[in-house]
């Protein structure tokens, strides 16, 4: 079956991915370690247990975060 590109936003950047990809697939495409990130889809946190069944739709906005050094302000 032919896959059509799906336009989404990841961390504010436009991305084209294959249709019907799930969050674990997106994490893999981006070369991220799944156990070290958290994901928000359209401003709602997606629990890790729900990643597999979460399939991306056109214009979805995905935020993927991790931890960095900091203790204080935005520029730490």
């Amino acid at each position: 079956m032919r896959s059509w590109p799906l336009r989404i936003q990841v961390n504010g950047e436009r991305r084209e991915v294959d249709e019907d990809i799930s969050l674990p697939q997106l994490v893999a495409i981006l070369n991220l370690k799944p156990e070290q990130v958290a994901i928000e889809l359209n401003r709602q946190v997606v629990r890790r247990i729900s990643w597999e069944k979460t399939v991306l739709r056109p214009d979805d906005k995905v935020e993927i975060v991790h931890f960095v050094g900091g203790g204080c302000n935005a520029n730490c």
Binding site: V37, E40, R43, I64, V65, V68, G70, G71, C76
Partner: protein, 263 residues
């Protein structure tokens, strides 16, 4: 020598977890991971705070958490958030990534001073506490605000001592003293503004239960040495507070007997 035992035996508790160390430290601004690790070891801190950020796309990034001692508690923070909504989203992401309910709530009101937006902080604290978070809010050193945050369900409050990263030391000791006296059962953690060891000791002598700092250690010329100085200062300050200091007097009071002086 049995006196120092007090500082060690007396535990400090947050969210049901007991800590021996009353020093909480940040993980930002270090010149290298090695330097950070050495400072963390020297500080004896059992809790460190980390920030939540977007992962960089299209370039590999090593995991920051791998550089932390696995035995220390991780306190994620909402640093960089300017609204209650951003802070709430960040806290929820942190909880999902780390599986901890702990959150150091920071809602900044202004870029120049990094002073907290107390109104937004309170709003976020209410939502997060209802949502089961152990909320540790950074706020202006104000008693009334502290009461509202405690009423909102925060198990501890984190008043600033001076602007974040300023190293100015305790700018308003009276406010901290009043907060301690009026809220004798509250857990008060002085957060931000400490510049050197004596500042940390003063915070503890004023009755703070713990001190959180980042820049004072990370920007010291020798971070590990300053971390150790902070560890000792926090312990000394706590001991002095629990010992109960002598009253201040304007005039001298001789230490030696007044009678029997050779004449």
């Amino acid at each position: 020598m049995s006196t120092p035992a007090l500082a060690y035996s007396e535990k400090f508790e947050i969210g049901g977890r007991a800590f021996t160390s009353r020093l909480i430290i940040g993980t930002g601004k270090y010149r290298s991971f090695e330097e950070m690790k050495a400072a963390h070891r020297a500080s004896g801190a059992e809790m460190v705070t980390v920030a939540v950020r977007r992962v960089p796309l299209d370039r590999s990034s090593e995991s920051f958490l791998d550089h932390l001692d696995p035995s220390v508690a991780i306190l994620p923070n909402t640093a960089g958030c300017y609204t209650a909504e951003e802070a709430i989203r960040t806290a929820r992401l942190a909880r999902e990534a780390l599986g901890t309910d702990l959150i150091k709530l920071e809602v900044i009101g202004d870029q120049t001073t990094l002073f907290p937006d107390n109104e937004q902080t309170l709003e976020a604290a209410r939502v997060l506490a209802r949502d089961g978070f152990i909320v540790l809010p950074y706020f202006t050193d104000d008693l009334i605000m502290a009461k509202k945050l405690l009423d909102a369900g925060c198990p501890a409050v984190m008043p600033l001592a001076a602007p974040i990263g300023s190293g100015l030391g305790i700018q308003n000791p009276a406010n901290l003293r009043i907060m301690r006296e009026q809220l004798p059962d509250a857990t008060i953690i002085v957060d931000a503004g400490v510049g050197t060891a004596s500042d940390a000791a003063i915070a503890m002598e004023l009755g703070a239960d713990a001190v959180l700092m980042n820049t004072a250690i990370a920007e010291a010329q020798d971070s590990a040495k300053m971390a150790q100085a902070m560890k000792l200062a926090v312990e000394a300050g706590r001991l002095a507070y629990t010992a109960g200091r002598m009253p201040k007097r304007l005039y001298a009071s001789a230490s030696s007997p007044l009678s029997g002086v050779v004449q």
